[in-house]
Amino acid sequence: MLAYVVRRVLYAIPILIGVNLITFALFFVVNSPDDMARMQLGVKRVTPEAIQKWKAERGYDKPLAWNAEAAGLAKVTDTIFFAKSVRMFAFDFGRADDGRDISREIRTRMVPSLAVAVPVFILGLYVSISFALLLVFFRATYLDVGGVVLCVAMMSISSLFYIIGGQWLVSKVWHLVPISGYAGGLDAVKFLVLPVLINVIAGIGSSARLYRTLFLEEVNRDYVRTAMAKGLPELTMLFRHVLRNALIPILTGVVVVIPLLFMGSLITESFFGIPGLGSYTIDAINAQDFAVVRAMVFIGSCLYILGLLLTDLSYTLVDPRVRLE
C-alpha cells in the first residue's frame, strides 16, 4: 500500500516537469517576449525602447534557457526558463501586471471559490445519484423513459442559459436574492444560493444520465440475481448491492475533480461577480496578463495530479480487491 502511494507520488514528478515544459514552450517559444510586448503595447506605434522597458519590468529581458554571457551557474539560473518556470516548483509565481503578488492573491481568492464549488459538488452529486437511482428503480417504465428524455434535454442547454435564465427569473422577476456580488462571513449565503442552485441544476442532466447507465450495468450482473434469489426487496438490493458497486466507477470521475474545486468556475464567478480564482483567471485572460495565466495553468495541473492520486487512494477505500492486494 505505502509503496503504491509513494510510487504514484514519484510518478507525478515527471508529469509536473512535462507540464512545466509545455507551458514554457507555449508562453515563451511560440511567441518571443518581443512579440508579446508589441501585442500588448499596440502593434502599430511601438518603439524598441517601450518594448525593452516592458520586458525589463517583467523580467523577460533575459535569454530563454541558456545565458552565454553569465558566468558559472548563472548560465542556467539567469534565464527566463529558470526565473519563470523552475521557480514555479517552489510556488513562487512572481507579480501580476498590476504589481500584486500572485501567490497572495491566490490564497485570498481561494475562499470564495470554494464557497461556491464545494456546495455545488456535494449537492450535485447527491441530487444526481438520487435521481439516477430513482430512474433505475422505475427502469423500463415510462417514468424512466421520460426521465432520460428530460436528462438529454437538460444537457442540451448551454450552461450560459442556465445562468442567464436563473438570474433573470430569481433575481429580476422574483427579487429573491441579489443578482450578483459577494460578501464575507455569513452574508455570503444570500449571494451563494443562486449560483449553487443554478450549477447543481445545470449538472443534473449529464451526470444523472451517466450514473443511470452505470447503475443499469450493475443491475444486470449475476450477483444482483443472487441477491434477489435471497428474497431481498428491490430497494435494499439497489442501495446495498448496486450503489456500492457502482460507486467504484463513479469515484473515478468524481474524486479527480475535488482538488480542482479550488480553482473555482470561470463562468459562474464572472457572472455572479464572485471574487474567486475563476474570475481572477478570466480577468487575467482578458487583460492578457501572462504571468497570472501561467501560474493558474501550473496550479491547475498540480491539483489535477493530486486528484489522480486521491482517486487511486479512494479505490482502496471502496474496493476491497484493491485494498487487500
Partner: protein
C-alpha cells in the same frame, strides 16, 4: 406427497418461447435433474419457478404449486418470503454471482436477517457454522473475507452456505459445478449429496452433464427445445433411455470403447423458438422420424413406473454400451524420428512489487516440461485449469516467449530463432483455440479469415483454396462469403480448424477445442479431428481437461500439475493403470455414467498458486500418501515401462 408441482409451465421473452408446457413434480428429499444441452430452456424453467425471469420475460401459462401454495398467485411480498427462505437457488458462475465488495459473512447475514431475523453476533456465529457445514476450513476467518480472496470451489461452497442460510425445503442448483475443475466438482457434488441426506432437502438439479446427473439424481427429466421430452427414475433412464434424442446423447459421449469408430452425432441444430413449431420438435434431426412425427405433436407415452416419454416411436431396448475397441490400435512399432521435441520448457512471468516494481518472484506457469510427439499421433496434455497446459501449448508455437527451452521441429532447433527466420516453420505448426466465439475476427468474412494464413505464409492464390478447405471440414464452400456471427459454435470451430489447415501444417496444437461445445457438437468435432489425422497424418498436441476425450482420441498422455508433468505414458498405461496419486484422483473424480462400486479417492483443497508452489513435491499438501520426504524434495522420474514414467516418491 409432492413438495413442488409444476404443470404446463410456459415462459415468453419477447417473441421467444424458451419454456413450453413443462410439467414435473419433486417430492420431499428428492433430487430431480433437468438435463439438456445449452439453450433448451432448463435454466429459464428454474428462474421462472423463483419468479426471477430476466427483463422482458414473463410467465405465460401453467401453475407452480409449492407445498400447497400457488406461487403464481402469490403477491411479491409473499414471494420474497419463499425466495431464499423455502426455496433457495445457487448459480453457475461462482466468480460473478457473489457481490465483490461485500464480505462472505455479510452476504450470508442478509439471508439470515431476512428469513430468521438474525443479526449481530448470532448471525455471525450462524454464518460461521454454515461455512463450516459446507466444508470451508477456518470459517471464523473466512467469514470476514471478500469473495475474491476465495478460490472458485470455495466461492461455490460459500454460495451454497448462503442458500442454506434460509433453511430451504427446495434447493435449485443451476449447473452448480460446470465452472469448476473436475476434482473440485467432485468435492462440491459430495457436499450436495451429504446435505441432501442430512437435511432431507429436495433438489432441482440443472445440468448438461450426463455424468453429474447419474451421480446425483433420483429422477431425471430431459429437455429439448423448451419442452420436457422424457422423465424417468435415474436407473431406468440410464439403462433404457426411450427418446431418440436421449439415446443419441449417450452415443455421442466419447469413450475408450468407441476408439477407432466414429461417435454418433445429431445432424442439424435445435429449432429456433421464436415461431410456432408443428409436429415433434426433434423430428427434423431424428433418424427414426416418420411422416406422423412431422405432422403430430407426440403425447406422453408411459413405459414403466414413472418412466414417460414424448415420442411416437419410443425405443424400448437397453442402451448399447458401445463396441469394445480393437486392442492395441495403431501402436507404433518402432518410434520414428519425432516431429516435435520439447525439452525443459519454462515459461515464467515476473511478479513485480514495491516502489520500483522490482521483480520479486516468478509465476512459474510452465516449469520444465519435456514432450515428444510423433507424426500422425496425438499427445494429450491433461490437467486442471491453472496447471499451465495452455501456456505450454502457446509457448511451443512461440506465441509466448519461453524463459528457456529447447524446441525442435523435425529435428531443427527453433526455440531461439528470430521471428523473421521462424516464418517458414510457422506454416508447419498451427493452433486451434478453445473459445469458438473469440477465435474468429467478427469483422472479417470467413473466407478472408481462412485465406489470411495462406496469404501470410504461402503467397498469392489463396482465395481459390478457401472453398476446398471449407469442404474439407464439412462446410459448404459458398459459406466463405459469410461473417462469423452467422455460424454456430460447432461451425465456428470447424472454420478455425480450416484456417489452421490452410497452411498444411504437420503439427496442430488443439487447446480445449471442444470444451465450450455441447456433447453432440463435440462429437462432430472429435470425429472431424480424427478423420483429418488419418487423411493428412497430422500430429496433435491435444490440451484438455476431459479424460473421456483423451481416451477416445489420444495415444499418449502427459498429466500436468502446477507447471510440471507428473505422469506420462500411453493412454492405456496412464488411464488404466495410473501410478501418480494425482492422476488417480483426477480419474476418480470424473463422474461416470456407469455406476461404479469403487470408493473414489478424493482430493482435499485447491490447486496452490504457481507463484509460490509448495516445497518438495508440489502435490504433497493434497496428497493422501505424503510423508516428510515429499515435503523435502521434488521426486525424480520413475519408469514403469519404456513409455510410462511417474514423478512420485511413492508411485502406487
Amino acid at each position: 406427497m409432492s413438495l413442488l408441482k409444476v404443470r404446463d409451465l410456459s415462459v415468453a421473452i419477447g417473441p421467444v418461447r424458451p419454456v413450453q408446457q413443462v410439467s414435473f413434480d419433486i417430492d420431499e428429499g428428492e433430487t430431480f435433474a433437468l438435463l439438456g444441452e445449452s439453450g433448451c430452456g432448463k435454466s429459464m424453467t428454474a428462474l421462472a419457478l423463483m419468479r426471477l425471469l430476466p427483463a422482458g420475460g414473463r410467465l405465460t401459462g401453467g401453475t407452480v404449486v409449492f407445498d400447497g401454495t400457488s406461487l403464481r398467485e402469490l403477491p411479491e411480498t409473499g414471494m420474497r418470503r419463499v425466495r431464499g427462505g423455502r426455496m433457495a437457488m445457487i448459480f453457475q458462475e461462482p466468480g460473478t454471482s457473489l457481490n465483490p465488495v461485500m464480505t462472505v459473512g455479510a452476504q450470508i447475514g442478509e439471508s439470515l436477517a431476512l428469513h430468521h431475523g438474525m443479526t449481530g453476533v448470532a448471525a455471525r456465529e450462524r454464518a460461521e457454522t454454515l461455512l463450516a457445514a459446507v466444508g470451508i476450513p477456518d470459517p471464523a476467518r473466512r467469514v470476514d473475507e471478500f469473495p475474491f480472496q476465495l478460490s472458485g470451489g470455495m466461492k461455490q461452497r460459500a454460495m451454497i452456505a448462503m442458500a442454506l442460510a434460509g433453511e430451504p425445503e427446495l434447493l435449485i442448483a443451476d449447473e452448480p459445478t460446470t465452472a469448476l475443475d473436475v476434482t473440485i466438482q467432485a468435492q462440491v457434488l459430495d457436499l450436495l449429496a451429504e446435505l441432501k441426506a442430512a437435511r432431507r432437502m429436495a433438489t432441482l438439479l440443472i445440468s448438461h452433464d450426463l455424468g453429474v446427473v447419474a451421480r446425483m439424481a433420483d429422477r431425471v427429466g430431459i429437455m429439448y427445445a423448451g419442452q420436457l421430452v422424457e422423465t424417468a427414475p435415474r436407473a431406468d433412464f440410464y439403462a433404457r433411455p426411450a427418446h431418440p434424442y436421449a439415446r443419441r446423447l449417450f452415443a455421442a459421449l466419447p469413450d475408450v470403447r468407441l476408439r477407432g469408430t466414429a461417435l454418433a452425432t445429431i445432424p442439424g441444430s435445435v429449432p429456433s423458438l421464436d415461431r410456432p413449431l408443428c409436429g415433434c420438435r426433434f423430428a427434423p434431426r431424428c433418424a427414426e422420424a416418420r411422416e406422423i412425427c412431422r405432422r403430430e405433436v407426440p403425447d406422453w407415452t408411459f413405459l414403466a413406473q414413472g418412466h414417460a416419454v414424448r415420442c411416437h416411436f419410443p425405443a424400448t431396448g437397453a442402451r448399447s454400451s458401445g463396441v469394445p475397441a480393437p486392442a492395441g490400435e495403431s501402436v507404433a512399432a518402432e518410434a520414428p524420428a519425432p516431429l516435435l521435441e520439447v525439452e525443459e520448457l519454462r515459461v515464467h512471468f515476473p511478479i513485480r512489487r514495491g516502489l520500483f516494481r522490482r521483480t520479486v518472484g516468478h509465476v512459474r506457469a510452465v516449469d520444465g516440461v519435456s514432450l515428444r510427439l510423433v507424426r500422425g499421433r496425438t499427445l494429450a496434455l491433461v490437467g486442471e485449469s491453472g496447471c499451465g497446459k495452455t501456456t505450454a501449448g502457446k509457448a511451443v508455437l512461440r506465441l509466448l516467449p519461453a524463459t528457456s527451452s529447447f524446441l525442435r521441429l523435425d529435428g531443427q532447433e527453433i526455440g531461439d530463432l528470430p521471428e523473421s527466420r521462424l516464418r517458414p516453420f510457422r506454416a508447419r505448426m498451427q493452433m486451434v483455440f478453445q473459445d469458438p466465439f473469440g477465435s474468429l475476427n467478427p469483422r472479417l468474412r470467413v473466407g478472408e479469415t481462412i485465406a489470411e494464413g495462406l496469404r501470410a505464409l504461402k503467397g498469392r492464390g489463396a482465395e481459390a483454396r478457401v472453398g476446398e478447405l471449407l469442404e474439407a471440414v464439412g462446410l459448404p464452400g459458398a459459406m466463405a462469403q459469410r461473417y462469423p456471427h452467422e455460424f454456430s459454435g460447432g461451425q465456428r470451430q470447424r472454420i478455425a480448424i480450416a484456417r489452421a489447415l490452410a497452411v498444411e501444417p504437420e503439427l496442430l496444437v488443439c487447446d480445449e477445442p471442444t470444451s465450450a461445445l455441447d456433447v453432440s457438437v463435440q462429437a462432430q468435432i472429435l470425429n472431424l479431428l480424427r478423420d483429418l489425422q488419418k487423411r493428412l497424418g497430422l500430429a496433435y498436441l491435444f490440451i484438455t481437461h476431459n479424460i473421456a476425450v483423451v481416451d477416445f482420441l489420444a495415444q499418449e498422455v502427459a498429466v500436468m500439475y502446477l507447471g510440471r508433468i507428473v505422469e506420462r505414458g500411453s493412454v492405456d498405461e496412464v488411464l488404466r493403470n495410473p501410478r501418480h496419486p494425482y492422476t488417480q484422483a483426477l480419474l476418480a473424480a470424473v463422474p461416470a455414467i456407469e455406476p461404479s462400486e469403487v470408493a473414489p479417492v478424493r482430493l482435499a483443497g485447491d490447486l496452490p498458486s504457481p507463484a509460490a508452489p509448495p516445497a518438495g513435491c508440489h502435490f504433497h499438501p493434497r496428497c493422501p500418501r505424503a510423508v516428510d520426504t515429499c515435503r523435502a524434495s521434488y521426486p525424480g522420474e520413475t519408469a514403469f515401462s519404456a513409455s510410462h514414467t511417474v514423478r512420485c516418491h511413492f508411485p502406487g
